[in-house]
Amino acid sequence: MNIRAMAAAFAATVTLPFSAAHATDLEVTHWWTSGGEAAAVGELAKAFNATGNKWVDGAIAGSGSTARPIMISRITGGDPMGATQFNHGRQAEELVQEGLMRDLTAVAEKGKWKDVIKPASLLDSCTIDGKIYCAPINIHSWQWLWLSNEAFKKAGVDVPKNWNDLVAAAPALKKAGIQPLALGGQAWQANGLFDTLTISLGGKELYETVYVKKDAETAGGPEMAKIFAAAAQARDMAKGSNVQDWNQATNMVLTGKAGGQIMGDWAQGEFQIAGKKAGTDYTCLPGLGLNEYLTTGGDAFYFPLLKDEEKSKAQDILAAAIVDPKTQVAFNLKKGSLPIRSDVDLAAANDCMKKGLEILGKGNIIKSVDQLVSADTQKQKEDLMSEFFANASITPEAAQKRFADIIGSAD
């Protein structure tokens, strides 16, 4: 644990000379390390430092699947941090059940979270046995298609209005030497792309039958077969991406090397930082331009139970600061995600975020797969999808059969 020792030493040397009498250091771990993400975390740290406490940044690089094991082993191993990011959903479920997390109900009541947090399903995901254990910070939805206007101009076709247009434009893009679809090699990206196809092409009902009711028959049925056929198309279009991280794939769209990418709204932050303008430089299509439903997964902060009184107080302050309207605006504008409350002013939001807010306002929302199935089931799906997307010799039918098995045993 050299890194931790170094971080502690670093924190000590930096904070000691400057800290005020009652300032408490709180180490916050998260996996926000890309350009847009780091800028957003900066806003959060600023808000917390303004309360007279000290944010000690514990960023863990390499996406959530690298960071979560580190966080969990620190909490279960008796070396908890002050606060930590998880996706709200079931990732921290067992930690809460074991009593390792701090109950935030008092803070939530004081801040009237029940009234201000919209949609209510966000807070439901934080609630276990009637008590609130996490502070949701943003809403992230997966169902976005990002398109490079420049790439389509070069290929001499109109910018697609939906997924089907992009599929139709793929040959023209390929001819112009442009990658039709950018897809990073990490398993979660293939998995997210597939779930997005399920909602956006198949609709809400199909999605809920598969992931809420976990109906294996539907998962193996003809409706789902269409999704697998579309996934096979996506596989052909993404062939040759040869990048790993999602922001490398986004960068291909940004620079016009790729036509489009299916990625969550966090990709927005990358366009923002590069100074690109929605509508002229790039186009965003929520729900892939077909079924405009968004899933309301996202990030939340959990607060491990600590023995130190002072730190516990600082935890409450941070929890309150996260839900605070001002932080919500500052953070989400940088991050490209949607705020968790509808009573904030997002005049500065760009076109894409406004589209997202509108869909939220209409109530076209569904719970994300993270909220519906366990991490174990997600991992099995990831294994299947990453294998399917990397290996063109697996037929959609064979993949669907395995998918139905996973859904059949899902929990």
Binding site: I72, T76, E93, A375, K379, N391
Partner: protein, 300 residues
Amino acid sequence: MAAHAPTGRPNQLFRNLNAKIASIPMMLVALVIFLGGTLWTVFYSFTNSRLLPRLNFVGLDQYERLWASSRWIISIQNLAIYGILSLIFSLVIGFMLAALMDQKIRFENAFRTIFLYPFALSFIVTGLVWQWVLNPEFGIQSVIRSLGWTSFAFDPLYDPDIVIYGILIAALWQGTGLVMCLMLAGLRGIDEDIWKAARVDGIPMWKTYLLIIIPMMRPVFITTLVIIASGIVKVYDLVVAQTSGGPGNASEVPAKYVYDYMFQAQNLGQGFAASTMMLLTVAIIVVPWAYLEFGGRKRG
């Protein structure tokens, strides 16, 4: 004669007492951490523990699921290919290099340093280096294409069918230097007179190596074998750094399955079942060998 020793034979337990006390910590570590940890893992592999260990027995369910998982099957196949080839190649290449070094060449020290140098790097660094070398846009492929051979294609890390060989190349690059050094030490331990006798008898050099020197180097080969084999079973970091298991599942290995299921999927039971299978595989190979190697000697 027994009457001369009133206290009987000295108690075996108290002979060399100091040495025994000194080795207690080591014995405790071996018993509690290695043996205890192993038993604990095997025990909990029969439960449905998720994020935290729980005593809820489900029989062989975890094992059934494990062997039904295509990712696990791919992992095992990869380990077999990687294991067999890396064993053969590192022994052959290592021995050849050592034999060449042994020809009283000039600058032997310099060569030895160069060949051993990669071993000073961790697998993570090795993996990253070779990820770049084998990257079609920056590495070997682009260099050769820029020399004019534009149809040249060599991108093992992006081809599911041959990705494991890309990993093998990196592993050999890193590991053969050590094998060479061990072999060289073995060669230097062979008496000069043997060579002289062979030369007098007019036995060609390759035959001397094959029929006289190698059989004499048996202990060195066994040491080397153990070192290589243990490296094979635990291969993990190289894969993570080079391909992170990709493309798709094509370069997955068992150790990575264990880690991913224990910590990413939050399914300890499944991870324990996989690690128990790994232990079993090692036991199947090691136990008969150890029996032949050590059991036989006692009788003889």
